[in-house]
Amino acid sequence: DAGITQSPRHKVTETGTPVTLRCHQTENHRYMYWYRQDPGHGLRLIHYSYGVKDTDKGEVSDGYSVSRSKTEDFLLTLESATSSQTSVYFCAIGQGPEAFFGQGTRLTVV
């Protein structure tokens, strides 16, 4: 299995607070991705990175920012959490066409 760790695995936060989710890899893969998964929507791409300090928006990037200061870490920040951001968040890494996923972070915004 690819070495990819998401933290935290579960989080409950209040509306309006900032939240940061971390994705850490030990595989030295070039690409890193953040997705959210909601019933009926499959996986929707939030942001992705194609190298250190190189990031781009996905389909649902509003309200989210990312940073990648090291190859191994990709951070997802919700600047001011809203209830619509309650979801399961998955990080993935890739070097070629395929992606390898973390275990997910269940985020609840109350």
Partner: protein, 112 residues
């Protein structure tokens, strides 16, 4: 915006039946992947198809990439309860930027 449309969204069948899941797009892709996801876990790669018309088999699962590389199908023969899960197709966007998009998924339930 490049979209991957999967059908059907839900499928409930009896053990032993055959089924096909479709993944369609108006865009041409250099490759396409199929993943399977179980509850509480991240998706796991099943296969990558690259060449138009390519057929790959993984035990009772048969994957096909369309001749024009715009669509793909997953066929399961003699489905078993262990096949239950969410099946997702995925592909990279144009321009080789690494952007990986997914279809909305097909939830399969195989009843004993």
């Amino acid at each position: 915006t490049q979209l991957l449309e999967q059908s059907p969204q839900f499928l409930s069948i009896q053990e032993g039946e055959n089924l096909t899941v479709y993944c369609n797009s108006s865009s041409v892709f250099s490759s396409l992947q199929w993943y399977r996801q179980e509850p509480g876990e991240g998706p796991v790669l099943l296969v990558t198809v690259v060449t138009g018309g390519e057929v790959k088999k993984l035990k009772r699962l048969t994957f096909q990439f369309g001749d024009a590389r715009k669509d793909s199908s997953l066929h399961i023969t003699a489905a078993q309860p262990g096949d239950t899960g969410l099946y997702l197709c995925a592909a990279h966007g144009s321009g080789n930027t690494g952007k990986l998009i997914f279809g909305q998924g097909t939830t399969l339930q195989v009843k004993p």
